[in-house]
Assembly symmetry: C2
Homo-oligomer: 274 residues x 2
């Protein structure tokens, strides 16, 4: 299983953030490490990934992730939490999970996940990857004063970099090469986290600071274990845009491509903004 591949190198900070201790069957204690801190609490992508990790760590787990939805119900504190993971249903080729992240006795996140075993079928990719320059020809994103977590990713923007002091953009599209920093072989957990590395579309579009918070995040994993192995620790080509901003909520739809133009994940989110 690619998400438990042993590395000869010391543990990556991401592995530390993902660490869960089984407190009881289906109950896991965790804490997102400070390297992945956001403006308030931890980076949502790390939260989504650690909730998925609760299902993947469970002894009843069958299969690999194909769908994950995480709802951010309250600001998560930079403190310890507990994740409760339940198998809702196990079928022949797939398994449905529900998870809750609890902090101080209250629900901070709810989630559902679908794990599955795949078989070979007729296969086709309809979307085309964006046409962009090679990653190393693009400037390294210098980071932002807004949060710590972006330093844990190597980002090289072809379009739609977050500047926060420019003029309003024609659209909210961002397209970039991105991978863990330092590089780390891709697994389902890091792919789940990478799906939330896009800066808020409203800030990219307007190039000004706006208070925001993702309220719901859904990822469909097209990658299987072989896709992850092909990708290794190479760059992913990521592109995201909003459809509509309307009275405190906007949506974002995004794709993450492997270096070999394989569509690894599509991911959607709904974001609160003021």
């Amino acid at each position: 299983m690619p998400d438990s591949t042993p590395h000869s190198t010391p543990a990556h900070a991401f592995d530390e953030a993902m660490r869960l201790a089984a407190a009881a069957p289906g109950r896991y204690a965790g804490r997102i490490t400070p390297a992945y801190a956001n403006m308030v609490g931890p980076f949502g992508g790390a939260v989504a990934a650690v909730m998925l990790n609760a299902a993947l760590s469970h002894p009843e787990r069958q299969g690999d992730p194909v769908a994950l939805t995480v709802n951010f119900a309250a600001p998560i504190k930079d403190e310890a939490f507990e994740i409760v993971a339940h198998v809702a249903r196990t079928n022949r080729s797939n398994q449905h999970w529900t998870m809750q992240l609890m902090q101080q006795g209250e629900v901070a996140c709810t989630a559902t996940a679908l794990l599955a075993s795949r078989r070979e079928t007729w296969t086709d990719t309809e979307l085309l990857p964006p046409q962009v320059p090679e990653p190393t020809t693009l400037d390294l994103f210098p980071g932002t004063e807004l949060a710590v977590w972006p330093a844990m990713y190597e980002m090289r923007f072809a379009k739609g970099e977050l500047k926060l002091h420019g003029s309003e953009q024609a659209d909210s599209t961002s397209t970039l090469w991105v991978r863990d920093n330092p590089p780390r072989p891709l697994d389902f957990l890091s792919l789940a986290a990478l799906c939330d590395t896009f800066f808020p579309r409203v800030m990219v579009r307007r190039q000004s600071f706006t208070p925001i918070g993702t309220v719901s995040l859904t990822t469909y994993f097209h990658a299987d274990a072989q896709s992850l192995a092909r990708q290794g620790s190479d760059y992913l080509l990521a592109t995201a845009r909003a459809s509509r901003f309307h009275n405190t909520y906007f949506d974002q739809t995004a794709q993450l491509w492997g270096r070999n133009a394989e569509l690894l994940a599509v991911t959607h989110q709904l974001v609160y903004y003021r």
Copy 2:
């Protein structure tokens, strides 16, 4: 609240399908009526809508739907079911729900929903609606032998009609005008159901029958009560396509536009296929 607007006409079959009886606090008994039957069990859009209805019917409900995810964990039988709805968290301006649909003591569906109160903000729609002829200039879809439920919708395809005896299409895109049949004023429940009225992308792309089943469906509602009132019972312009078909799972991403070119909902799903 638009979803409880009294109609002077007799109850629409959709209202009958949505009917829930409160068996206990947060426990609702229901049954999708035969008019909305699918190949196996009831139409998934009606199931998604009735699960949302459990949250909207709950006395603790605050706000209108902005996000809904429904996971289809098992084939639902054409029989009575119970929906259990819990408030996971109530915040100042939004409320998180978890739901489960039970049949014969087993979980058949899991779901999460986010209800919210909106405020006026900077607003913009980035996507453009597809350019298509006026609805009444397009042929009425004659229905399909595959299922009963499509007869409950008036569909007029501009592109990507389901024929099942043509040659493989260049892509899986379908674009159509669609509304309830007979027409019914749009509310959040019917909008939730309309989001699942697209025929399976793999069948549209390949124009041949393939066993399929939606496993996870996520809808973001951009429509608010005013949008629904503006729309009334007019046609919606709906467009859907797949990103990738890969080894037993494909995704679909879709938009539903109002007649006045207002983006009412974006919706995504992951579908099992053989």
